[in-house]
Amino acid sequence: MTQTTETIEESTPRNPRPPGLLSYALANLIQSSGDAIDIKRHHPSESTKTLEARLDSVSAAQESGASLRKTIKGIRGWETALIIILMVVFSASGGLAAAASLEAGDSGAVNIFWLLGVVLGIQTILLVVWLIIAIPGGALLRRFSGGSLMISAIGAIARAFTPTGSKNRATRRRRVEAAAAAVMHVDFGGTRTRWALSSITHLGWTVFNLGLLVALLVILSVQRFDFGWETTIGTDSAFKEAGRLVAIAPEAVGFPVPSEERFAAARIGATTNEPAEKDPSATADRKDFSGLLVGSVVVYGLAPRLILFTFCFILWKRATRRWRPDTGSAGFAPLMRWGARSAVEVEVVLDEPLTTKLGREATGSTLRRSSGSALLGLELEPPSCGWPPPCGATIIDLGILSSREDRNACIRRIEVAETAPTRLVVVVNLVTTPDNGMSRIVQRLHAASDGAMLKMVLTGGERFRNRVDAGALAQRVTDWRAIIDGPEMNGEAVELDLDHLTAETRARLAEIVTGKGRPELPEDQGRMVTLDAAFAEIAVHARNWHGAPNQKELLALQRAVASCAGADSEDRLVGIPDLTTIAADPMAALDQAANRMKAFLPTDLRDSARWCAVGATVGTLACLVTAGSIAPVVLGALPAWLATGAFSGGVLGLLKTNSAEDTEMDQKTVASIRGEVIAAAAMHAILLAMQGRGERAIQETLEQTFLEEPPSLTLTNDVGVQLGIWRTRLSHVLEERGGR
C-alpha cells in the first residue's frame, strides 16, 4: 500500500558528532573542489528527524563522505593524542616543580611561604588573568583563534596527513583540509573558543597539580624535612596572621595543620627552635606542616582547577552540541536538495486493474438513406465568424453542444431524422482538452449518424498558441486526432481557425463541409476578402486599446493582419530579411527591414516625415512577425536597436516598453500615434494583399490611397471611418487598374 522511495540506512559506522559535522566537512570539500564531486541521490530514512542528521545521512551515502568520515576520525584522534601529550608534559612539570622547590635552605628548614609561593603563586596569578580574559566576553580569545592561527593549524594538519608520495595528492589534501577546517571550527571556533581553551588550560593545571601532589607525597614520604619561615622586612605578626589564614581552608577539609603557637615557634632563627632530632614534638610538627603544604595544594591548586575544568568542559561540550552548520553557504547547496525533509509520497493503489474492455455500442440501423452534411460544435464558444460558420453550402446545423440535455437532444435528432447525414463535421476548440468525455460523445454522435464520414475542425489555434509552446500545440492536435482515428471512425481532423477566417481558410472549410472541391475565387475578389478581413481585424484591435497600444498589442495587431493574408502569410514582404539573417544579427535585420520599407514608399509619401515613420514601422513589425519563432531574440535586440537613434520616437518608441502607461503622453500625441499605427497596419495589409504585383503598381496604389498625412485618431469610431475611406479609395484604384 505504502511505497516510499528512501533507501535503507546502513547503520554500521556512526557519523561523527555533533550532527552536521560530516555534512559541513563535505560542504567544505564541495566548495573547494566544485564540479569534481557529484552528489548521488539519497533519501534519508523517515526516522531521521533533524535537518543536520538528514544532511549527514546524505553525506555519508556519498563516496567522498565515507572517506571524510575516516579523515575526521583521524583528526579527532590526533586532537586527543595532542591533548594527552600536553597533559603528560604538564604533570611532569608539576612533579619537577615539586622536586625543585622542596629543598632546605641554609638554616636546614624548608621555607614554607616560599614553597607555597612557588607551587601555588604562579598558577593563582594565571587564574586571575584567565578570569579577566575569559569571563568578560572572551572576545580576545575568539579573535585569537578566529584569526589565522586556525588556518595555519589546518594547513599543518593537511600537510601532515598527506603523504608526499600518495597518488591523488591534491584530492587528498583538499579532503584533509576540508575535514580539518570543519573539525577545527566545530571544536574550537566561534563561541566555543573560550570554553575550549579554558578547558584545556584548567585541565593542564589540574594535571600539573596532580603531578605536584604525587611528587610531594613521594618526596615527603622518603625524605625528612623541617619547615619554618622567615622574613627580612615583613613583620612577624603579619606572617603569623598569614599562616593562620592559609591554614583555615586545609584544616576545614581535615588536613592536619600546625597550631598558632607552633607556627609562631617555627620562625627560623628563634632560640627555641633548634632542629632537635629527638624532640617528639618536632615529628608532630613536621607532620602538621606537611599537612598544611599538601592541603594547600589540594585546596588552593587542585580543587579550583578541577571545578573550573568541569565547568568549562561542560560548557564547551554543550556549545559543541549546539553547533549547527550554516546550511546556506554555497557548498551545502547540492546536499540540501536531498537533505531537506521532503513531502512523503504515498501511492494508493486501487484494488482491481481494468479487466473488461469497453464493449462498443452497436451502430444504428443502416436502413436509412443518407444525405447532406451535419455540422455541430462541442463546448465551443461561438467563433467570431458566427455560428454556423460560413461555408458556402446548405448544411444541417446541429448547434453547439455543451450540456447533457444538448447532447441527448442532438443525438435523438440525428437518430430520428429520415436521412442520416453523409458527413458529420464536428468543430472543437483546441483549448478544450480532448478527454474521455469528448471521445465518448464523438463516438455516440458517430454511431447515431450511422457511421457518417467524420470530419473534425480544430479551431482556436491562435488562442491556444498564446498559452503554450509549439510542442504543446502539436501534442494537442495529435491528441484530438487520436480521438477520431480509430478504425471504426476513420475521421479526419483539420486545423482551421474560425476566429481568424481568411479567404483561404473559408474555402478550405467549404471543402471540408461539402466534400466538394475547393470553390474558385476570382483573384481580385479573393484579395478584397483578405483585405476586408484584415481591416476588420484592425478595427477590432483598435477598439481594445487604452490610449496608445503597447508593444504586445502592436505585435498582436500585426500578427493578425499577417494571418488574414491566409496561406500567403508565410510569405515575407519583399525585402524583409529571412529567418537565418534575422537570427544571425537581429539588429542589422531590423535596420534593413525598416530602411527597405521606407525606401519602398512612393515619392510623395517619402517626403512626409510621418509617412516615413509609418513605413519604417511596417518594416520593423513585418520583420518581427516574420521572426515569429525566434521573436525573443529579436525582441531582446529591439531596445538596443531603437536606442541607436536611427528610428527612435513615434510609433517605434512604443516598441521599447511592454506597457505604454509608463510613458506619459498627452491626448494629441496619443491620437497621432494611434493614427500612425492604424496607417501602418493598413499599409501592411495592402502590401500583403498585393503581393505578386509589380513594385511600381503597388507604389501607385499606395500613392492614390494614402492621399493625406497619416490621420490623428482619437475615438474608436474614427478608426472605422478612416479605414472605410481607405478601403473605398483602394477598391476604386484597383478597379481602375483592372488587375494590373
Partner: protein, 481 residues
Amino acid sequence: MTDSPQESTLFRVGVVGHTNAGKTSLMRTIARDAAFGAVSPSPGTTVEVASVKLFANDTPRADFRDTPGLEDPIGLLEFIDGLRTDRRDDGPSLIERFLGTEESRNLFKNESKALRQARTADLVLYVVDARDRVLPRHSDEIELLNRCGKPVLPVLNFVSDAEARVDEWRDALARLGLHATASFDTVIYESRDEQRLFEAMRVLADDFRDDIDALIKNLRARRRKSIDRASRAIAELLVDAAAYLQPVAPVPADDDALRAERKRESEQALQAALREHERLTFHSILAAFEFKTEDAETALLECTDGRLGIDLFSKDAIRQAGFGAVAGAAGGAASGAAIDLVLGGMSLGAASALGALIGGTFGSSATQTRRLYRRLRGANDLHAGDLTLKLLMSRSVDLARAILRRGHADEKKVRPEAVALEKSVLDQVIKALKSARSHPSWSGVGTSPPQGNDRERSIRRLAALVREQIVPKRPEETQNG
C-alpha cells in the same frame, strides 16, 4: 484537539477537478516538490491517487491527495442519476452505490478514484482552469462533488493568465452555492495566494483549525527563511569574490612575452574559479527556495536565452545587466574591466596588508605573510574588478527574484526578467565590499569558507542589502516578515 495528530485523524484533503486543470501542478507547488507526479498538457496524465503529507514542526498536519482528472462528468452524472431507485436516495449513498458498480471499475475508472477520495476526504479542493468558460460540465462536476457530502473549496488555477475569467467564475460558483473560493497560479507563484488558500481551507474545515494554523505559520517562516538563505548565499558570494586574490607567477623583469602569458594564465584561473563559485551560489539560491530538481542546472538554468545561460565573463553578460556603457569604455575586452591587476611593490594592497599585520590581529597567517613578502618583492596578484562584482550581484539577485515567483509546477527554464539594479545600490554594494577587498583570507573561493567575526559581520551587512533587492519592500511583506 489535534495536538498530537494520529495517522487516522490526519487532515485529509482531496484534490479533484477536470483533467488538465492543474491538480498535479497544484500538488507540486504546495509540496515544493517539482518531481511530484507527472504533469503534461495531455489529458489523463495522472492515473493513480498519490498523496503528499505536509509537515509543520516535524509533525504531519495534512494529507493532500492528488487524483486522476474527471474526464466525463456529464456522462458520469447521467450514469449516477440512473442509479437512483428511490426518491429519498441522497448524494453520498448514490456515490457509494456507484463506487460498487462494474462501470466504476472500467468505464469511469479514473473518475471513481477521484470520487472515492472526495468521499473520504475532510475537504475537497476543486481545481478549475480559470481560463475556461463556465460550462455545463463544470456544474455537473460540482454536482458530483456535492454529492460526496464534503465541504468543497474551488481553487481557481491559472489566475495569472491574461485569459483568466476570475470574476466570471466567482460569480458562477456563488450561484452554485460555493462562496468561498481561492485563486492560485501554480506556475507564477504568489506567497499570498498560497496563504489565502490555506486560510480559506481553515474556514471550511474548522475541525482542523490548529493543523492549518500550524501549516500557515510554517509557510510564512519557511518563506522568510528562504529569502534569508538566498540573500546570505549571495552576500557570501560577493565577499568571497571580492576578497579573492589570484597570484601571477613572477617572471624575470625583461621578459615581456612571458609576463603577458603568465598574466593570461592567471586571468583564466581567476575566471574559472569565480565562474565555479557563481555556479555553486546559483545552486544555493535554488536550494534556498526548496527546488530539489535532481539536476538543477539542466532542468532550471541552462540554455536560457535569458541571462543565466550567458558566461559571466562575456560581453553579453555585461550588456544584459545593463552595463553597456562600461563595456564600451573597456573597448570590448570584457576582462579588462572585469579583472584588476593588484600591483606589486608597496601598493595599496600591500600597505593595507601590512597595516593589518601590525594593527593587532594576533597572528597573520602563514599565507598572508607569504603573500605580503611576495608583494614586497614586486610580484603581482589579480582580483575581480568592480564590474565583475556588480555583475555577480545583478545576476544572482536576478535569479533569486525569478525563483521567488516560480511555482514548483513551472516546467520552463528560469527566465529572469532583465531588470538592471540601480546604480546607487551597486555602488553601495561595492562600498560594503571594501573591507573584504583588503582581507584575502576571507575568501572562500575554491577553499572551505573561512570563519571569522569580521567576515561574518561583513556578510550580514551585505545580506541585508541583498535582501532588499530580492524582495522589494511591500507593506505586507514587512508585516509578514
